[in-house]
């Protein structure tokens, strides 16, 4: 297998195939940086055009776009508190406060370096560990995946913000939105009001754009002449080689977040946003100064951005070996592969080694190129965006949002829905309801429900199926540790204090 890996390399390095990766990365960064336009969308638009391309040019473009977009999403997340892609929500937590403190440039540099490291780790995992990791995927049946979802939901505790009641209301709203549409087992309509457009449920991008992008834009326009706050001259940009030494201390987070991202990637149906959330929480839990998190801790940006790139290539492991895409983007990519007669499955690696392994190399190169292209693009050009007059910036973003949401399914219904979520988001923002629990509730609520019900069907209604094997029990133990651990810690430290007092 490793000789085949090397054998595929020369083909990847030919001019056209390598250029495809470069063009893809740049296009990906641009698309990711625009609120409303996502990697999924960019690649769906690309798929029909790949008919006439040679396979490695088509796949190189896709690999580049995927890598680039996962970083690009961080740019508006840091500068405007608007996540450019669903996976960049966790990047706003510390990225935006950093920008307000005048460290926006450094935040973007941390983001690009971390993204690149996550992407490289993921590509290497895909190259050398795809077959064994696909066996890990097989261990996760419905009951195991259900527990993973619960593990993720448990981390909502850390996202509640200052007011737990408001945080829980937000989370419940997210779970409620996940219920809309036809139910995952029988297909009965729930809260669709007879609208065919609602049958498939609410697309996460529609909710995200409305909730996250509209309120900050309204903010921009409310005070059109305000000139303080973040601006280009206060970004604090410096050459990336001078910023690198300041990032050395993130190495533990980089390793941890890469592993989390890769692991979430190989689980069917989870995706980049879950990877970023989980890795952010784990990094914060491990931190010695958890109080600085949420107020502009660069390590928070590193954690989120490493993980959302670390699940890119690894999401292709189940996609290529089993035909189950780990993310929405991987699902579209499968179509691109199919067009070139590449059918997922164990045979794929034997029948078309040059293309499959070439595709993996392209992922690796895409991740490496990210630092070179993203580093200069982001700090030198995109960040200057903030020097635009506020009314102009606001209206450009609104146009992008409308186009992006319309293009998901090509219908106005989604645009109206997005505006509705925008109104809800605006009110929530003013009343200080935290937004992240909504996103997590939507992603994980539906995920948990579907897998719980599948597990119970397999167990014919017997709940003991949920505890029937070792994999489940390990995840249950982890979940309990996450919830109970901090409480015990706090109790112990209190005891210690009282003992000293006596």
């Amino acid at each position: 297998m490793y000789s085949e890996l090397l054998h595929a390399l020369p083909e990847v390095l030919t001019f056209a195939n390598f250029m495809a990766v470069i063009v893809g990365v740049v296009a990906g960064i641009v698309v990711g940086a625009m609120p409303g336009l996502s990697a999924t969308m960019a690649i769906s638009v690309l798929v029909p055009f790949t008919f006439g391309m040679s396979p490695l040019v088509a796949l190189g473009l896709m690999a580049g776009i995927y890598n680039g977009a996962m970083y690009g999403g961080a740019i508006p997340a840091v500068l405007l508190r608007i996540p450019g892609t669903p996976a960049a929500v966790a990047t706003t937590f510390d990225g935006y406060p950093m920008a307000q403190k005048g460290q926006g440039g450094f935040a973007l540099q941390v983001a690009v370096v971390s993204s690149s490291i996550g992407g490289i780790a993921s590509a290497i995992a895909l190259m050398v560990l795809a077959p064994p990791l696909s066996r890990v995927t097989l261990l996760f049946g419905p009951s195991e995946v259900f527990w993973v979802a619960i593990f993720g939901l448990a981390s909502i505790i850390f996202l509640l913000g200052g007011n737990p009641v408001k945080g829980l209301i937000s989370a419940c709203f997210g779970v409620f939105v996940s219920v809309i549409g036809s139910d995952p087992i029988f297909g009965n309509d729930r809260f669709t009001f007879g609208q065919l457009e609602m049958l498939d449920g609410i697309n996460i991008v529609i909710l995200l754009v409305g909730l996250y992008a509209l309120p900050p834009v309204i903010d921009l326009l409310e005070v059109p002449l305000k000139t303080d706050g973040v601006n280009g001259s206060k970004l604090g940009t410096e050459p990336i080689w001078r910023a690198l030494p300041r990032m050395k201390r993130f190495w533990k987070t980089w390793i941890r977040s890469s592993i989390i991202g890769i692991w979430i990637g190989i689980l069917p149906g989870a995706g980049g946003s879950m990877a970023a959330f989980m890795s952010y929480n784990e990094a914060r839990r491990a931190s010695r100064t958890p109080d600085t998190w949420g107020n502009g801790e660069p390590e928070g940006v590193a954690a989120a951005e490493t993980a959302n790139n670390a699940d890119t290539a690894s999401a292709l492991i189940p996609a290529l070996t089993l035909g189950i895409p780990g993310t929405a983007v991987a699902a579209v990519m499968l179509g691109g592969l199919l067009i070139h007669g590449l059918q997922p499955g164990p045979m794929l690696f034997r029948e078309n080694p040059d293309i499959v392994f070439g595709f993996m190399w392209q992922f690796l190169f895409g991740a490496i190129l990210l630092v070179l292209l993203g580093g200069s693009l982001a700090t030198n050009s995109f960040a200057r965006l903030l020097n635009l007059p506020r009314p102009l910036l606001g209206s450009v973003i609104i146009v992008l949002m409308l186009i992006g949401v319309y293009s998901i399914h090509g219908r106005m219904f989604d645009v109206y829905l997005m505006l509705l979520f925008g109104a809800i988001g605006y009110v929530m923002d003013k009343l200080k309801f935290p937004l992240p629990p909504v996103v997590l509730g939507l992603i994980l609520g539906g995920f948990a429900e579907e897998n719980l019900r599948l597990a119970l069907r397999i167990g014919r209604g017997d709940w003991s199926i949920l505890f029937a094997n070792v994999t489940s029990l390990v995840i249950v133990a982890l979940t309990v540790a996450v919830i109970v651990g901090p409480m015990i810690k706090r109790l112990l430290s209190k005891d210690g204090k009282t003992a000293e007092g006596n």
Partner: protein, 314 residues
Amino acid sequence: MKHILAALAITALSAVPALAEFPEKPIEIIVGYSAGGGTDVMARTVAKFLEKELGNGASVIVKNMPGAGGQIGFTEVAHAAPDGYTLGTFNLPAALALTKDRKADYNAESFTYLANFVDDPNTVVVSQSSQFKTLDELLASAKENPGSITFGLSSLGGNDHFAANMMADASGAEFTLVPFKGAAMARTALLGGHVAAGTMALSQTTEFKNELRVLAVLSEERSSFRPDVPTAKELGYNVNMSSLRGIVGPAGMSSEVSGVLQDALIAVNKNEEFQKTMAGQGNPIAFADGETFRDIAKSQDNIVGALWEKTPWK
């Protein structure tokens, strides 16, 4: 009589330029699923070759209108003007099953059936590591302990589901049905040992020859893709179920236009390069012309209707 003949001749003559002119603008093929799915890839492949066969610089565009399990796309085609410029992909039995289990603004009569390309028979399949070596062993176990055998399906109300129901009917066994989100998820659960068996389409098994054991194919004759696998009929269970994908237009198309399209689609099927591309994408081709396709649709409509009457799934 002479007058009638003359009139006929005139209409025939005047029809010639009309025929030569079609298509004078781009033809749209509406796909009710997202770009990159199996149906979408088939539509794009057909579109590419259809352009060539229609000639005259014809252009055929694929438009994705995903949503509601394909229903949004099927409805759009059914309600389009029958001028030949709006066509759509048609998936059986899915498209007609939707008209039984929910309110739909179309039925089997709403379409002009132009050509079917793919006919992918369902199977009864277990994992290679399964204790069941034959269909009879599997069914015997299911009868001995009703409900103990779990079947992973791609969804309820799809061909996988109907295949499992028809197998249960024919054998008198009782299965526990577990509807996943899509065939690949069901296959993964089967490979991971989370469900005991499946009824996925044959094309879903071909790339997993060493991992899956196909016990029976649910078709009239053995499939040329897996001639080693017996049909259920050979084994004593007369069950036929498959997934079909073809091209339709709205009902009420003029015979000239539908004739041009049908002839071009027949020519597409005869193109060797087309056959090669489709096979590379794992599509088992079983071409049926418009009339045959219409008959298949009607009989599928009856089968699905009867299944819904007997064992409604929601």
